[in-house]
Amino acid sequence: MAHLTKIYSIKARDYLRAGEVSMQVQSLLKSIGFAQETIRRVSICAYEAEMNVVMHGGDGRMTVEINTDGICLDVKDEGPGIEDISLALQEGYSTASEEAREMGFGAGMGLPNIQKNSDSLEIVSEKEKGTEVKIGFKA
């Protein structure tokens, strides 16, 4: 079966380049020719997940897996981990730093937005070790 994997690295606290990875993912999906609505949903989730790593995580990477069934974003970082995942999924809940908030981020909409725009969401997190977020979309 046709299958494509691409890995992008994300740097923590690099606000200048933040969003760059999601743009590359967006253009990859356009190049393949996915449906507009799929591209829109994946773009939103990729951006939110990337920003989570930039804001909270240590360095991380985003793995994009594409096949005819759909798209999977696997975003993994070496950050502080999420203490209470169900709390983090609530709209408006945020532990973003002062720095991030000053730049207009940290509204507490990241994970809720991902949940709203994806078909499946799986979060594995361990304190002081890091977080892995798997986001799935049907083609």
Partner: protein, 422 residues
């Protein structure tokens, strides 16, 4: 990129005799539509959005925008002119808009100050944005339909954002529609053999007239470049004696020539003006990621600094900007229209475009999803072996596009000069 099948119609052409194959136009093209096979002559092979970046980039003057003015024999017997206010800013600060209109009047049958319509349009957008405000599930941000290059860019690269473009007819089309209606009803001419032509700084106006995205057909009959009428106006200005008031607009309408001019004419709200093609692409990418939903309305202009930076202008964009600023001060920010009347026209649907097609002649994707993924895999594989220098010597604009061309059978890998060297 797989050709998404936007209409192949375009009005930017490369003169093969003048082209030296220097690759500058290919590098400047935002849709990567240009190739220079064997570094001989540049050719437009992909989707052209008529932005004119190649016209600016070409040191030989080999790239031209085709307009109605390129072949004046095509003009109607009676020519009605509706001029973009950018024209007013081409002759320095001392020449007033009315003088420019009078100078045009000497050579054309009827001349109309289109800038006045801009004030009406502002009211329509204001009301549309207000209706959108606080509505459940409303589309945000809304996007201005005024710049034809931005419309084509959205249609080609960001089709999911087409629904953000507001369904209001642009001022140039409203002007043409109303002119025709009036001149026809009032039987001003003894014949119906007249055409309305737009004088424009923009290389994409022709395509927007011949193949409009948001109208079934354009009300305009053609376009003339500012560069094509510049000498004529200058000549006519020399011994101007006529004394007639053709200029009706306030500074609001004239200010449209500069980026930010459109939203400056609107009541307070959360609006943003962005100009320049690269900046616009950047913002559209972010809007597609769900950002900027707090902004109510975006004014995008593909040309840097706005329409005064259009490829068919004559005056330097920064001097023209200064001239526009002077006129805006001079003619004031007070609109000259009757607000209640504009509001009534809006309620009656006067401003709404009847068609929301947005993507002409769009053909279906030729590849299946599985084929497309396989194509992407092959592109990746070739791309990884390329030097990544974006030199353009292979005849494609960058390594990624070259890899696509190789996979699509348009180029052979051994065209890469750097790989041959190693």
């Amino acid at each position: 990129m797989v050709d998404q099948g936007l209409s192949s119609l375009h009005y930017v052409q490369i003169d093969e005799k003048r082209c030296t194959g220097c690759v500058l136009c290919m590098k400047a093209c935002p849709t990567k539509a240009i190739r220079v096979p064997d570094l001989k002559v540049a050719k437009i092979v992909g989707t052209c959005i008529d932005c004119g970046e190649c016209i600016r980039a070409c040191p030989q003057g080999a790239v031209k925008a085709i307009t109605t003015g390129s072949d004046p024999s095509k003009l109607s017997r009676y020519t009605i002119i509706s001029a973009s206010p950018v024209l007013y800013a081409q002759f320095g600060e001392e020449v007033m808009p009315n003088e420019v209109l009078l100078a045009l009047r000497r050579s054309f049958k009827y001349v109309y100050d289109q800038a006045y319509i801009h004030e009406l349009y502002n009211v329509a957008v204001e009301l549309h944005v207000k209706e959108n405000r606080g509505k459940e599930g409303a589309i945000r941000p809304l996007i201005s339909p005024v710049c034809p290059v931005v419309n084509r860019l959205i249609s080609y690269r960001f089709p999911s954002l087409l629904k953000h473009v507001i369904p209001i007819i642009t001022p140039r089309e409203i002007a043409a529609r109303e002119l025709k209606r009036r001149l026809y009803c009032e039987k001003v001419f003894d014949t119906s053999e007249f055409g309305v032509y737009h004088i424009t700084p923009c290389s994409a106006k022709m395509v927007s007239i011949k193949d409009p995205l948001f109208l079934k057909s354009s009300y305009l009959d053609g376009a003339l470049g500012i560069n094509e009428v510049f000498e004529l106006v200058k000549r006519n200005l020399r011994d101007l004696e006529e004394d007639m008031m053709l200029h009706r607009s306030s500074g609001v309408g004239i200010g449209w020539g500069v980026s930010g001019g459109e939203i400056a004419g609107m009541e307070e709200g959360n609006y943003l003006a962005v100009s320049g093609l690269q900046e616009t692409i950047h913002y559209l990418e972010k809007i597609e990621m769900g950002l900027f939903s707090d902004i109510e309305y975006f004014e995008f202009r593909a040309c840097l600094e706005g329409c005064i930076g259009g490829p068919l202008t004559v005056a330097d964009r920064y001097q023209a900007k200064r001239t526009v600023a002077k006129f805006v001060r001079m003619f004031g920010q007070e609109k000259r229209l009757k607000y209640a009347q504009a509001q009534k026209a809006y309620r009656e649907g006067w401003f709404y475009s009847e068609s929301r097609q947005g993507s002409p002649n769009r053909t279906d994707q030729r590849l299946s999803l599985s084929e497309a993924i396989e194509r992407e895999e092959r592109i990746e594989k070739i791309f990884r072996t390329l030097p990544g220098k974006k030199c353009g010597l292979c005849g494609s604009p960058d390594c990624r596009t070259f890899a696509e061309d190789v996979v699509d059978g348009m180029a052979s890998v051994d065209r890469c000069v750097l790989m041959r060297r190693c």
